[in-house]
Each structure stands twice: as structure tokens, then as C-alpha cells.
């Protein structure tokens, strides 16, 4: 039986899929939504109010690049008025002093700036955008000067892991309170570019060593969150803290999803916040109920002592690698497909295919 439904902790709003950068591991779907289909300001404000009403505590403003929306400060102000902790997830290439002042005045709590490397040569190549790195450094300074909390998002992979130590140093120099060192997760664009991104086992071990040492040296100065790649894992991650347990995502056009990659799963119908309230979708939408809790699980997840620790891992990864969204995530050592996943990682990381298929609207 499933436990009673708890209130969700956080909502991620993809305000737009427009973005000047072309990162080949973008978390947006391959089929990007168009500007003309984006929700308007009034609808986003209603969504924020409804989400606060069912108990979310954190509002993440994301994209695409959320700063392409001129109504961002108005939405931040509204979220703050609803008592939410407000977080801007941005490439920061559009941040300037005037816009920083507007956002700070609106009550923004925290800014997360993505970095693609520790220097312009690597970072601008990965982002597919000239001068991105320099703009980000300037933007980090603006966030710090405005007195807001700053996190650096360092997405790491085979082509920038040699700069990991330098990226941690960059976070300290930029005055960030926190760095998220996140190995690429292979969905959507990243899955398409997996062979160019996946690290070798030796690279992963070195990265883990660097993070462990930095955590000890920088305790109380810099918080380091570390996301490891599933392909070399022994146990799966509790993806999203469990399907539809803590978190939901809203696309630019208003589709409400249990995770940003959920649209890759066949047979699920994702309802729109323009047609039903956030609370009703959270509690009753068939897509949210489908993999919620443990009732849907088959062996080896069913009856496993870890069923309520990792919640079966990731549904999108199970689908991508086994063809069955209801299977145990192959990141788990108990999955019959576990060895296949590890073999894929070893083969692709050693193949030296480095060209990217950059993110773009098709």
C-alpha cells in the first residue's frame, strides 16, 4: 500500500525553452517548445499561487534561459509574496547590473549559474557560445555584489573533467556559497551526445577523490553537492526523490510533469495547468499516479529492502536502456541489465568520439 500523499517540496518552472546557449547535455527535451506557446504572466502567477497552496516551499525559475522573459522579476516578486524560497537557474549571459537590481529588489533569494568549464576555451566550446565564460564571471560578481546567495552549477563530463579542481577554485574565488558538481545524466540531449560526454572510470574515480578532498578542506566555506553518473554506480539514485513524491516540473506551455524528462515515457498523458489546477494534477493525474510509491514495482524492486530508499531509480533511464519504463533502473546491481549498462559506459568512454550535436530548435 502507498502512504498518504505528502505535500511536494519544490516546483521547477521552465518559463521558456529559448536559450542563447547550445549545451549538448541540456535537460530540455529534444522537441523544444516554441515561444508562441509559452504561458502568459497571469497564468504563471496563478500556477505559483496554486503550488504554494499545496505546500511547495521552493520555486525554481528555469528554462531554457529564464532571463529571456521580461516578466521574470514580477514572477519572483509574486513567489516571494507567497512565502516561497526563490531560486533562479540561469546561464547568466543576459545578466547585467540593471536586471540584477530588478531581481534583487523583487526578492530573489538565490542564483545558480551554470559553468561549462574553468576557462573560456573549454567552456565556450561546450556552451557553443562565444564569450559565455567571461559573461558568467561578470554575472557571478553582480550576484555577489547584490548580496544574494550564489551556487555554481558545474556539469562535468569527459571533455571538462580535467578542469574540476579549477572549477571548485573558481567557485571559491567567485564568492559562491555552494557548488553543484553534477556528472551529466543521460536523458534527452545528453543521451543523444552520450558517446562524446561519458567519462572513463578513471576520470570518475579522480573526480570523486577531488570532491572528497575539497569537501574536507572547504567545510564551512563552500558546500559541495555531488551527483555521480549512474553508469558506473552500484545502486540507482532515488530519482527526483521518488516519482511524484517531492517535486514537479512545468513546461513553457503548461504541461505538468513529475520530472523534466518524463515526456520520453510512452503512454502517459500529461495534463496542463491551463485545464486543471496544480493541486488536482499533483493528487489525481494518471501520469503522477503511475509510478508513485511502490505498488507499481516488479521484482527485483518489489519486496526489496531499498524500495523506499531509491524508489526503483529512474523511470526514464529504465526506458532508455531496457525499453521498459517499469523495469528496475539498470544502474542497480540487482537489475539483469546492469552489466550491459556498465559495458556501454566503458565502450563509449574509450571510443574518443568528441563531436557534439548541439542543442537547437529543429
Amino acid at each position: 500500500m502507498n502512504a498518504p500523499l505528502s505535500p511536494p517540496l519544490a516546483m521547477l518552472m521552465e518559463l521558456t525553452h529559448r536559450c542563447p546557449l547550445k549545451c549538448p547535455y541540456c535537460s530540455n527535451p529534444l522537441a523544444l517548445e516554441r515561444a508562441r506557446d509559452e504561458l502568459d504572466t497571469a497564468t504563471w502567477k496563478r500556477v505559483i499561487t496554486e503550488a504554494a497552496g499545496i505546500g511547495i516551499l521552493q520555486a525554481h525559475f528555469s528554462g531554457g534561459e529564464p532571463m529571456v522573459r521580461s516578466d521574470l522579476p514580477e514572477l519572483v516578486r509574486h513567489a516571494r509574496a507567497e512565502g516561497l524560497y526563490t531560486n533562479l537557474i540561469t546561464s547568466a549571459v543576459l545578466l547585467n547590473p540593471a536586471r540584477m537590481a530588478e531581481l534583487a529588489e523583487a526578492g530573489l533569494d538565490h542564483v545558480q549559474i551554470s559553468f561549462q568549464g574553468a576557462d573560456a576555451a573549454v567552456a565556450d566550446h561546450v556552451a557553443g557560445f562565444r564569450d559565455a565564460h567571461e559573461k558568467k564571471l561578470a554575472a557571478a560578481q553582480l550576484v555577489r555584489d547584490a548580496g544574494l546567495a550564489l551556487t555554481l552549477n558545474a556539469v562535468v563530463h569527459r571533455q571538462n573533467l580535467h578542469q574540476l579542481s579549477a572549477m571548485i577554485d573558481l567557485a571559491v574565488d567567485a564568492g559562491a556559497q555552494r557548488i553543484e558538481v553534477a556528472h551529466v545524466q543521460y536523458y534527452g540531449w545528453a543521451l543523444k551526445n552520450r558517446a562524446a560526454l561519458i567519462p572513463t572510470r578513471a576520470q570518475l574515480d579522480e573526480a570523486t577523490r577531488i570532491v572528497t578532498a575539497a569537501r574536507a578542506n572547504l567545510a564551512g566555506t563552500l558546500t559541495i553537492d555531488y551527483v555521480v553518473p549512474d553508469y558506473y554506480a552500484a545502486r540507482p539514485k532515488a530519482c527526483m526523490g521518488g516519482w511524484a513524491r517531492q517535486f514537479f516540473n512545468i513546461t513553457p506551455s503548461g504541461k505538468m510533469l513529475p520530472c523534466h524528462a518524463a515526456e520520453t515515457l510512452p503512454g502517459l498523458v500529461f495534463e496542463r495547468v491551463t485545464e486543471r489546477s496544480v493541486g488536482e494534477i499533483w493528487a489525481h493525474s494518471s501520469a503522477f499516479e503511475k509510478y508513485r510509491g511502490t505498488g507499481w514495482m516488479a521484482p527485483p524492486c518489489q519486496g526489496c529492502a531499498r524500495a523506499e530508499i531509491d524508489w526503483g531509480g529512474c523511470r526514464c533511464q529504465a526506458l532508455a536502456l531496457t525499453g521498459d519504463a517499469g523495469a528496475t533502473d539498470p544502474a542497480c546491481g540487482l537489475s539483469p541489465d546492469h552489466a550491459m549498462m556498465a559495458a556501454l559506459a566503458i565502450a563509449e568512454s574509450g571510443a574518443a568520439v568528441d563531436d557534439f550535436a548541439y542543442r537547437m530548435i529543429s
Partner: protein, 91 residues
Amino acid sequence: MSLTAASVPRLARHVRFRFDAARNCHVLLAPERVIMPDAIAVAVLECCDGVVNVAEIADRLATRYEAPRDAVLADCLEMLNDLADKSMIAS
């Protein structure tokens, strides 16, 4: 950089502490973090105004809860140092 009895604790600038009606409890909100402090931690956090030091907080709570002052001080320091390690409390 541990807090001592003489330290004056306050919430870090990027942290918010408030009551949450949906869960009927207090919450500490920080980047990608939600902490639900227990009743004792709530009592300590409510005293963290950036004016009084930890010794004064312990005095106040020892009186309020009729508890041994040294034990209260030790509990306050442990809890506040734990949050300071998470960059949620500054002094």
C-alpha cells in the same frame, strides 16, 4: 571556525526560517535544502537575532524549560555548529 558561548549567531543571509502551514511545522529554507528543525532547535533559532550570544540564549532557554544550564549550552552549541557547517548559521 566553531561557535563558542561568546559567539553571536544569526541566520545566514540566504537562509529563511518560517512556519509552514501545509506541514504544521517550522522550516529552514536554503538553496536546494529544506530542514524541518525539532522543537528544541526551533526554540534556539527563534533566539538567533544577531544580538544575543549563545551563552545568553542558553540562559534564556534553561530558565524557560527549567533545565540544567550547562547541558542546554552544550546542546545549543552542537546544534548551531551543525548548521554553521552547512553554512546556514553565521556569527
